[in-house]
Every structure is written in C-alpha cells, then in structure tokens.
C-alpha cells in the first residue's frame, strides 16, 4: 500500500474510473473532452484557465497535467504565473470578502 495519498503515476490511471461505472465515466470523459475543444475560447486560453483552477483546487494531478498542457501549447512561464496569481487573487478575495459578513455580524451584535 502506498504511504502517500498522491502518486503521480495514478494520473495515468484516471481513465480506469470508467471500469467501475462505464456509463457515468464515459459521460464524464465525453463532456470533459468537449469542454476543452477549441470554441469561443481557444484551447490555449482554456488550458490557462484550467491551470489557474488546478491551483485554487490544489489538485496535484491537475497541476501536473495542465502545466504540461500549457507548455505544449506554447504558454510561457510568465503567462502561467500570472494565471496562478489570478486564481490566488480570487481565492484570497473570496476569503476576505467574507470579512463583510463578519463586520455585519459584529455591528448587529455589538454595534
């Protein structure tokens, strides 16, 4: 048994998810594939969005996958880092904006 929860080699096994539920697994991968096709957004733009979200979700598999995908699409490391800062800003902002709720509560209870 692995001594860590995450094994990089497990990413290669992602497709095996379908083995225990073929219908739902296939529906997911069909959807996933369609989402990343070139559309109103380019595949390159989608890759950068995915990279930023991979970080906010803190998914190591997704970070590996979309770092490589971004490199394949010619994305520079400067672009990648900027995308991650966008994710970090939203994540930080999402925490901080709840401060308003705290302030509202303080004002109500102890204003």
């Amino acid at each position: 048994m692995s001594k860590t929860y995450y094994d990089p080699a497990d990413l290669r096994k992602f497709g095996k998810i379908t083995e225990w539920d073929e219908e739902l697994g296939n529906k997911f991968f069909d959807y996933y594939g369609k989402v990343f096709e070139e559309g109103a957004l380019t595949a390159r733009e989608k890759s950068l969005i995915a990279l930023a979200v991979a970080h906010t979700e803190q998914c190591p598999y997704c970070i590996d996958a979309y770092t490589k995908d971004s490199l394949q699409r010619g994305v520079t490391k400067e672009e990648m880092m900027e995308a991650i800062h966008v994710g970090a800003a939203i994540k930080g902002g999402a925490t901080l904006v709840h401060g308003v709720q705290m302030m509202n509560k303080v004002n109500k209870l102890d204003g």
Binding site: T42, A43, L71, Q72, R73, T76
Partner: protein, 354 residues
C-alpha cells in the same frame, strides 16, 4: 536550469555517443519488463508490421554534422566539433541519383548544411535537376554567423530553394534555452532578411517554413493552432512573415535522450509517446516514403535511424549502388524511438502526418 552544453556528446565522450548504448536503453527497462509494448508489438496490433517502404517521394541528404550551434535536443549531436562532412565525390554520387530519382522532394540537411565547403556547388548542380521541391534546412543563425554567409538569402532565392528553419518559440527565453545564447536575436534578423528578398511573403513562391519542436519533455500541441500563435507573435513583434509551421516531436535519441535521462523524464516521456500512439499516423510515417543519405553516402530509412546507425534493410546500402526499384518494398528498421513519429497527429520532417 541546466546550462546549455557547448560540445557534442561525441566530443564529451559521453556514454550516449555510442549508438548501441542508446538502442540498449530504448529496448530495456519499461519495454523489456512489459510495462510498455515495444513499437513492433504495437504496430502488429493493427497488422502494420512490418512497415514497408512505398514509392520514394523524398530524398533527404545529410551533407555533414558540423554546425555553428549546439542545440540542447539535437538528434544529430551536431556542433562545431563534428568533423563528418560529405566530400565532393559523394556529392557527385548523390547528383547522379538526383538526376534520375522519381522523388518529388530533395531535402538537404545537416548540421548546418551551409558549412559544407562544397554546399553552394552542390545546390547549383542539384537545382539543375528540376526537382519540384528543393529544401534546405537552414538553422537561420548561420546567415548571420560570418560575412561569407550574409548573401545566403539571395543565393537561396537564385536557386528557388525552399527554406525550412527551426524556431522553437516566438520568445527569446525559450528559444535561447534550447538553441543557445543570442540564437533568438540572430534568427529574427535572418528571418527579416529572408523576408526582404521575398521569402515567406503571402503570395511569394519563395517558400519559408518554420519547424517547431518542444523545448522540453512534452509533446507538441496542435500544429495549426501553434502556427496561428507563431504568425501572430512574429508579425506583431518583428513584422516577420512565413508560410507554414511544422510541429515536430522530439525523438528520444542522442542529445534529447541524454536530456531525458539527466532530467529524470525518460520513463514519463516514453509513456506520453506510447499513450499518444495513433495508428493512423503509422500509415503515413516518413520512413515509408523517404530515404536518408548520410555524409558518407550510406542509406537509412530516416535521419533518426541514420543517427542510431541503423542502415536500410536492403542489398543496396550505399548511394554509389543506388537502385530505387530495389529499395522500394524494403522492411523499415524500427525501435522504440519510432513512437516519436506516431504520437498524436504524427511527426515527420514535413510536420504532422495524420
């Protein structure tokens, strides 16, 4: 980040300068223990083994391994220290073949082919044969390397040469990391000079194509998307135009194999290649319509097999005994590096194949 080496594997007496060692690595480990299928077993699954040579379309001649650059991923292990240069006598033997070949494309490569002292004579003579597409693979920086090369754009134009040049990225950092300091700036200048004489302009018959190969242990993305990105960036930043972009996969041989092993990416990279295997690409791999001639006149199924010292499986071994009919139908010599040409949309010296 590792600093770019300035000498070939051969000069450094690296273990990987020995092609048998490279072939051993490619046949052992994950391919020996059954973790991944060998290329032979993989193509046999779709009844594509053995691969056979079809009618010859492309005659590719390597006029020498000497180069002014020492690129990180060079499959030729080329560099200034390489002394293997095609002689005028072998060039004459090649010309005898060029005059009678049925191939529609003649493709000169190296090293930097322009560094062969008889390069210009060879181009002049070869262009008289009237082959439809006459390619010279120019690394661009050679045009700016020395005063004696400054007129190359005019020379190429005079002989209606189709220029194909490597350009790993539209940014300085990524290009110089792979190809050496100041390669980007010199390449940009050379491209601008080619544009000035008419190369790469939208309606020009003077063809200028760029070759993109990834700067690290990953596969190339969609060729047409990359072409759009390259065109947009090179036009906006430098006013440069070119015709097509060929996206080429790095094959796990020579200096790229050395890099993969040193950076501990070898197994992951082979997994990527095998997982991206595309049987449709197998039907069109370049070894089935190409013949590669080495600096000393020997014949190979492709430039990669040449660098692995895997000669053609035919009675005809040398350009001096050339016979196109006898070479047709030969079995192609394969190993695990061939996965590089069948991954995704496939890869060849002319870009994707599927």
């Amino acid at each position: 980040m590792t600093k770019l080496k300035t000498q070939s594997l051969k000069k450094r007496a690296s273990e990987l300068a020995n092609t048998n060692r490279q072939l051993e690595i490619l046949s052992n480990g994950i391919f020996k223990n059954g973790e991944l299928p060998t290329f032979k077993d993989k193509i046999a699954e779709t009844n594509q083994f053995p691969l056979r040579a079809k009618k010859l379309e492309i005659l590719q001649i390597n006029v020498g391994y000497m180069c002014n650059q020492v690129c990180e991923h060079c499959h030729v292990d080329a560099g200034p220290d390489r002394q293997e240069i095609m002689t005028k006598e072998t060039m004459q033997q090649c010309l005898d073949v060029i005059k009678k070949t049925g191939a529609h494309t003649l493709d000169l490569t190296g090293g930097a082919p322009e560094m062969n002292p008889n390069f210009r004579w060879f181009v002049e003579e070869a262009s008289k044969a009237g082959i439809k597409d006459f390619i010279v693979r120019s690394n661009l920086t050679i045009i700016r390397a020395n005063r004696k090369y400054y007129d190359l754009p005019e020379f190429f134009k005079k002989h209606n040469v189709h220029v194909v040049s490597s350009m790993p990225h539209w940014t300085r950092g990524k290009t110089d990391k792979q190809r050496g300091d100041s390669v980007f700036d010199k390449s940009i200048k050379a491209l601008q000079e080619l544009n000035v004489v008419g190369y790469g302009m939208p309606d020009s018959s003077l063809r200028l194509d760029l070759v993109y190969n990834p700067s690290g242990a990953f596969l190339p993305s969609d060729q047409s998307s990359m072409e759009k990105d390259f065109k947009k960036a090179l036009m906006e930043d430098f006013g440069i135009q070119f015709h097509n972009l060929f996206a080429i996969t790095n094959l796990p041989i020579s200096r790229f194999l050395d890099y993969l092993i040193a950076s501990e990416n070898y197994e992951d990279y082979m997994y990527q290649l095998v997982e991206a295997y595309n049987p449709t690409a197998v039907a069109n791999v370049m070894c089935t319509n190409t013949l590669s001639v080495s600096w000393d006149g020997y014949l190979y199924d492709c430039d990669f097999n040449q660098m692995l010292a895997l000669p053609v499986n035919s009675k005809v071994k040398h350009i001096s005994e050339y016979n196109e009919e006898l070479l047709e139908g030969r079995n192609i010599v394969i190993s695990q590096h061939c996965y590089g040409c069948t991954a995704g949309a496939g890869s060849s010296c002319q870009g994707t194949v599927a």
